[in-house]
C-alpha cells in the first residue's frame, strides 16, 4: 500500500513524508497476496481486468462472431436480442460483430501509435536532453511549435494532406503525440546525465553517442513507459474521433468511431443501439487504460 504521491520521494528519510510501502508479509500464500494487492489497489485491478477483457475480445473475438461487413436488409434496425447482442444497423449488419472487430482494430492501432510516438519521441528527447546546447534549443523550439496545435487538429490536418490510409492515420496521430514524449524523456535525460554512471561511462572512453543511447537512454525511458498506457488510451480516442468525422478511417470499415458516426443520425429515430454500444466500448476501453496509467504515474517509486 502506498500512502503518498511520489513527489515526496526526494525528501530526507527522517522527514515524516517519505512514502512508506507496506509489503504484504511473505508468510501469506500466493492467492492471499493477490487478494490483498487487489484490495489495496482497487482501481488498478479494475483497469487490469477491463483491459484483459478487451484484449481477449480483440484477440479471439473476431473468430467467433459473424462477418462485420455482411449486410442483410431484411434485418435492418432490429433492437438488441439473443441473435444480435447489440442489434443491427441500417444495413442489417450485426453491431456486436462489428464492435468486436473494431476492438481489434482500435486497440492495435492505439498501441502501434503509442509505440511509434514513444520510440521517436524518446530518441529525440534523449538527444535533446543529453547533448544540450544548440541541439537542445532547436529541438525544444520545434516541440513548442508542435505543441501549439491541439493534438486532434494536428492529426486532422496531416491526414487531410495525405491519402486516406491506415498508415497515414498512424503517422498523423503519432506525430501529435511525439512532442509529449520528447518533453518527457528530455526532462529525465537531463537528470540522468548528471548521474555518476554517465561520468563513469565517459571516463571509460565511450563516445558521447554511445553514452547517450546505451547508458542514458534506457534510464530515461521510465517516465515514458509509465505514460505509455495513458497515451494508448488517448490515441484510441483520437483515432475514433477522426473516424467519427470520416477522416482517416471511413465507413464501411468496422471501427468504433465510424460506428458512432454512422449511428449518429439513427438516434433521432430512436435506434439508440447503433451508436450507444460502440461509443460505450470506447469509453470503457479508454477508462481501463486510464485506471492503469493513473495508478502507475502516481506510484512511480
Amino acid at each position: 500500500m502506498t500512502l503518498y504521491p511520489s513527489s515526496a520521494s526526494d525528501r530526507p528519510t527522517d522527514s515524516p513524508f517519505v512514502p512508506q510501502r507496506i509489503f504484504v508479509p511473505t508468510e501469506l500464500s500466493l492467492p492471499r497476496r493477490w487478494i490483498s494487492f487487489m484490495r489495496t489497489n482497487p482501481l488498478f485491478t479494475v483497469g487490469l481486468f477491463l483491459l484483459s477483457a478487451f484484449v481477449g475480445l480483440a484477440a479471439i473475438g473476431p473468430f467467433f462472431v459473424g462477418d462485420p461487413l455482411r449486410t442483410n436488409i431484411t434485418e435492418m434496425f432490429s433492437p438488441p436480442s439473443a441473435d444480435h447482442l447489440f442489434g443491427t444497423d441500417e444495413y442489417g449488419r450485426d453491431v456486436f460483430a462489428r464492435a468486436v472487430h473494431a476492438a481489434r482494430l482500435d486497440l492495435t492501432i492505439g498501441l502501434i501509435i503509442a509505440v511509434v510516438a514513444m520510440t521517436i519521441g524518446s530518441t529525440v528527447g534523449v538527444i535533446a536532453g543529453y547533448f544540450g546546447g544548440r541541439v537542445d534549443e532547436i529541438i525544444m523550439r520545434l516541440t513548442d511549435v508542435l505543441l501549439a496545435f491541439p493534438g486532434f487538429v494536428l492529426a486532422l490536418i496531416i491526414v487531410a494532406a495525405l491519402d486516406e490510409s491506415l498508415l497515414n492515420v498512424v503517422i498523423a496521430v503519432a506525430a501529435a503525440y511525439v512532442p509529449y514524449f520528447i518533453r518527457l524523456t528530455r526532462a529525465q535525460a537531463l537528470v540522468e546525465r548528471e548521474q555518476e554512471y554517465a561520468d563513469a561511462a565517459q571516463l571509460a572512453g565511450n563516445t558521447p553517442i554511445r553514452i547517450a543511447f546505451r547508458h542514458v537512454m534506457p534510464n530515461s525511458l521510465r517516465p515514458a513507459l509509465v505514460s505509455a498506457t495513458l497515451v494508448t488510451g488517448w490515441a484510441v480516442l483520437t483515432v475514433a474521433g477522426l473516424a467519427f468525422l470520416s477522416v482517416g478511417i471511413q465507413p464501411p470499415q468496422a471501427e468504433w468511431g465510424v460506428m458512432v458516426g454512422e449511428g449518429a443520425s439513427d438516434i433521432i429515430t430512436g435506434e439508440w443501439w447503433t451508436s450507444l454500444f460502440p461509443g460505450g466500448m470506447i469509453v470503457l476501453a479508454v477508462m481501463a487504460f486510464h485506471f492503469i496509467g493513473d495508478d502507475l504515474t502516481e506510484t512511480r517509486a
Binding site: A148, V153, I157, F244, M287
Partner: protein
C-alpha cells in the same frame, strides 16, 4: 518583470512563425501532388491545372513560402477552394459562435472542476475522493462525440428539456444586432432578453458536453496541486501555529495551488479548440470548427490551413496570457529574489 514580459512576447512571435512554417510544410509539401489533392478524387487534369495555377502550386517552393508568409503577416489566409471566399473573413465571421461556446464551457468546467478538486483533496482517500476520482477518469475517457450524442438523445429527444441540435437559435428566430457576436450578451445589450434566454437554451447541451470532458483534467490537477500544497512544509508550519483548518485549505493551500491550476486551464482551453470540431459538427453549430469540418470533407486544404493557423495563434496567445498571469500571481516571479526596499 518587464524583461520577462518582453521575452515572453518575443517567444510567442517566434512560435507563431514556427506554426506558419509547419502548416505550410504540411499543406504544401507533404501531399504528393498538392493540386491533385485539392482538386479532389473526381477531378480531371484540366481542373487540377486550373487549381495549380490559381494557387500558385507550381511555383518553386521558396516563392510559395514567401507569398504565404507575407499573406499571413497581413492577415490574409488565402482563398477557400470550396466557397471561393476569403478564408480570413469566413473564419472571423464564425469565430464569435465558437468563442461563445468555448467561454461558457470553460467557465462551467472550471467551476465544477475546481470545487470538486478542492473537495477531493480535503477528503483525500475517503469514499468521496474515490468517487470523484472515478468521475474524473470517466470524464477523461469520455468520447466527446458520444457524450454529445447521449445528451442530445436524452435531453432533447426523449425529454425535450432542451432544443435539438439545429443552430444557435431556433430556425426562423430573430437574430440580435451584432455588438459582441455573443448572442447571450447581445440579447441583453440590444434590449431583447428573450434572445438571450433562447441562446442559453441552445448553448446548454453542447456546453454541458464540453464542460464534462474539460472538468476532468481540471479536477485531477486541482486535487493533486492541493494535496501537494497541503502536504508541504509551510502548511505544517501553519498547523503548528494553530491556523484553523478551513483557513489553511483556502488561503495556504489554494493560493499555492493556483499556479499549476492556471496551467491546466490553459491546456484545457487548448484541448477545447480541437474538441470544437466534434461538438460543432454534432450540434450544427456555425463556428470555426464546423467550417473546418466542411473543409475536411471537401479537401479544401486552403481553408483548413487557415483554420489551423488561427487555432495555433489563439493557443499561443492564450499561453502567453497565462504565463503573464502567473508572473502576476506568483511573488517569486513577480519580485525576483532581492529584498524589497
Amino acid at each position: 518583470m518587464r524583461k520577462y514580459l518582453l521575452k515572453r512576447v518575443a517567444t510567442s512571435l517566434l512560435t507563431i512563425l514556427g506554426i506558419v512554417v509547419v502548416v505550410f510544410f504540411i499543406v504544401r509539401v507533404l501531399p504528393g501532388d498538392a493540386a491533385a489533392v485539392r482538386a479532389g478524387p473526381y477531378a480531371n487534369q484540366e481542373l487540377i491545372d486550373r487549381i495549380a495555377d490559381k494557387y500558385g502550386l507550381n511555383d518553386p517552393l521558396h516563392i510559395q513560402f514567401v507569398d504565404y508568409v507575407g499573406g499571413v503577416a497581413q492577415g490574409d489566409l488565402g482563398i477557400s477552394i470550396r466557397t471561393n471566399q476569403n478564408v480570413t473573413t469566413e473564419l472571423l465571421d464564425r469565430l464569435p459562435a465558437s468563442l461563445e461556446l468555448a467561454l461558457y464551457s470553460v467557465i462551467l468546467a472550471t467551476a465544477v472542476g475546481v470545487s470538486l478538486g478542492v473537495l477531493s483533496a480535503h477528503w483525500q482517500n475517503t469514499w468521496i475522493d474515490r468517487l470523484l476520482r472515478i468521475f474524473a477518469v470517466i470524464g477523461s475517457a469520455m468520447a466527446l462525440f458520444w457524450l454529445g450524442l447521449l445528451l442530445t438523445f436524452f435531453f432533447a429527444f426523449k425529454w425535450g428539456w432542451f432544443p435539438g441540435p439545429v443552430d444557435r437559435l431556433a430556425v426562423g428566430s430573430e437574430y440580435p444586432r451584432t455588438v459582441t457576436g455573443f448572442y447571450t450578451i447581445d440579447g441583453i445589450l440590444t434590449g431583447k432578453p428573450s434572445i438571450t434566454v433562447e441562446a442559453f437554451r441552445y448553448l446548454a447541451l453542447p456546453v454541458m458536453a464540453l464542460a464534462f470532458v474539460l472538468a476532468a483534467p481540471i479536477l485531477k490537477m486541482v486535487r493533486s496541486a492541493m494535496i501537494e500544497a497541503l502536504e508541504s512544509d509551510f502548511v505544517r508550519t501553519a498547523k503548528a501555529v494553530g491556523v484553523p483548518q478551513t483557513r489553511i485549505l483556502f488561503v495556504d493551500g489554494f493560493r499555492n495551488a493556483l499556479i499549476p491550476i492556471t496551467t491546466t486551464i490553459g491546456i484545457v482551453f487548448g484541448f477545447m479548440l480541437g474538441g470544437n470540431i466534434l461538438v460543432e459538427f454534432l450540434f450544427s453549430w456555425p463556428g470555426i470548427g464546423r467550417y473546418a469540418f466542411d473543409a475536411i470533407t471537401t479537401r479544401d486544404l486552403e481553408a483548413l490551413q487557415g483554420f489551423v493557423v488561427l487555432v495555433g495563434v489563439m493557443y499561443v496567445f492564450l499561453n502567453m496570457v497565462i504565463d503573464i498571469t502567473y508572473a502576476i500571481i506568483d511573488p517569486r516571479i513577480r519580485l525576483g529574489s532581492g529584498l524589497t526596499k
